[in-house]
Structures are given as structure tokens and as C-alpha cells.
Assembly symmetry: C2
């Protein structure tokens, strides 16, 4: 399995962010081809020492890295990426990697 | 479910890091009480634009945030944290959050 993590930094307006994220972005992103599972953080994203500076972390599961590349290239993936630019007012970091259980 | 993500920045010696991580740290961390699932990245951790600066990302799954707090307080958790300080020569960021499927 491969993961695409989208780490949203604290936005200017958290309430507006959440409304857009759950009402618009989730339905948009769920249409991405090859997406197997879509998880999001609930409540605060913390560090052991306190606040993290991240507002929300999304983990999108795909079969492998090639599937993530195809997702980025798809019309649905492009639409989701374009949508991110409209609401991620604090910025967003993306990480992608293969992952396995130990 | 709650997640503890440990994001290891590129270490001074990646080969030594991997040897210690898989031979010593994984068996140590797997003893942490309440740990339900333990996943690690395989191969490079990338961004859409190229290298991420992270060498390895571990995702530890627990039932809830209280279970993560108990894990940190446990002797096994303290041993795992002490071990991290011996091999994470590039530093490590930790994030903890509740997570759910959308």
C-alpha cells in the first residue's frame, strides 16, 4: 500500500476551512481514481509538547506509488488539487510513500 | 482510532539508521502496551516536487488518544523514546491525533 499524506497548516479561519473541507473537498477528493481509503484527523493535531501548527492531516490510501502518480494526473486529482488552493490558507505539505506493517 | 506519527528527518548515516531501526527499535516499540498496528514507510518519502527531507515515517495505531498517553507513560514507551534519541541523528517530529475514515 502507498500513502499520500496531506498536512494542512493552521488556516486563517478554521471554521471556514472545516466547512469547505468536509462539504466540498472530501466529496471532490473521493472521486479520485484508485483511492482505496481516506482518513482524516479529528480534533487537534498535537505533539507531545503541545500544539503542532497543523490543523488537519488527511491520509489517502492507494495500492502503490504508481496509483498515486495516476491519481495526480487524473482530471479528478487535478480538480482536488485545484480545490486545495482555494481553502488551504495556511498552506499544505504533501508526502507520499510506500508503507507496510512491521 | 488514534495515530502517533513519528517522522524521522534524514539522518547522518542512513544505513546505520535503518539497521538500528529495524533490528532494535521496532522490537522495542512493538512492546508498547496498547499498540494495535505499526506501519513504516518503505523506500523514499517524497513530495510531489521531489525529496521531502524525511527518511522514514512510522505510524503507530492506538485505540484512542488516552491509550497514546498511557503508552508514553509506560516503561516500554519510555524505553522506545530513549532509544529514538540514540539513532535519530537528523531529528524526529511526532504528531498525535484521532483519526477516522470519511
Amino acid at each position: 500500500m502507498a500513502r499520500l499524506m496531506v498536512m494542512y497548516r493552521t488556516p486563517k479561519d478554521a471554521i471556514a476551512f472545516d466547512k469547505h473541507y468536509f462539504e466540498t473537498h472530501v466529496p471532490t477528493a473521493k472521486r479520485i481514481p484508485g483511492l482505496r481509503k481516506y482518513e482524516v484527523s479529528r480534533g487537534a493535531v498535537a505533539t507531545p509538547a503541545g500544539p503542532s501548527g497543523f490543523h488537519l492531516i488527511a491520509t489517502l490510501h492507494f495500492d502503490d506509488l504508481a496509483a498515486i502518480q495516476r491519481a495526480f494526473a487524473s482530471a479528478e486529482g487535478q480538480a482536488a488539487a485545484a480545490d486545495v488552493r482555494t481553502f488551504a490558507t495556511g498552506g499544505a505539505d504533501m508526502l507520499l510513500f510506500d508503507s507496510g506493517e512491521v
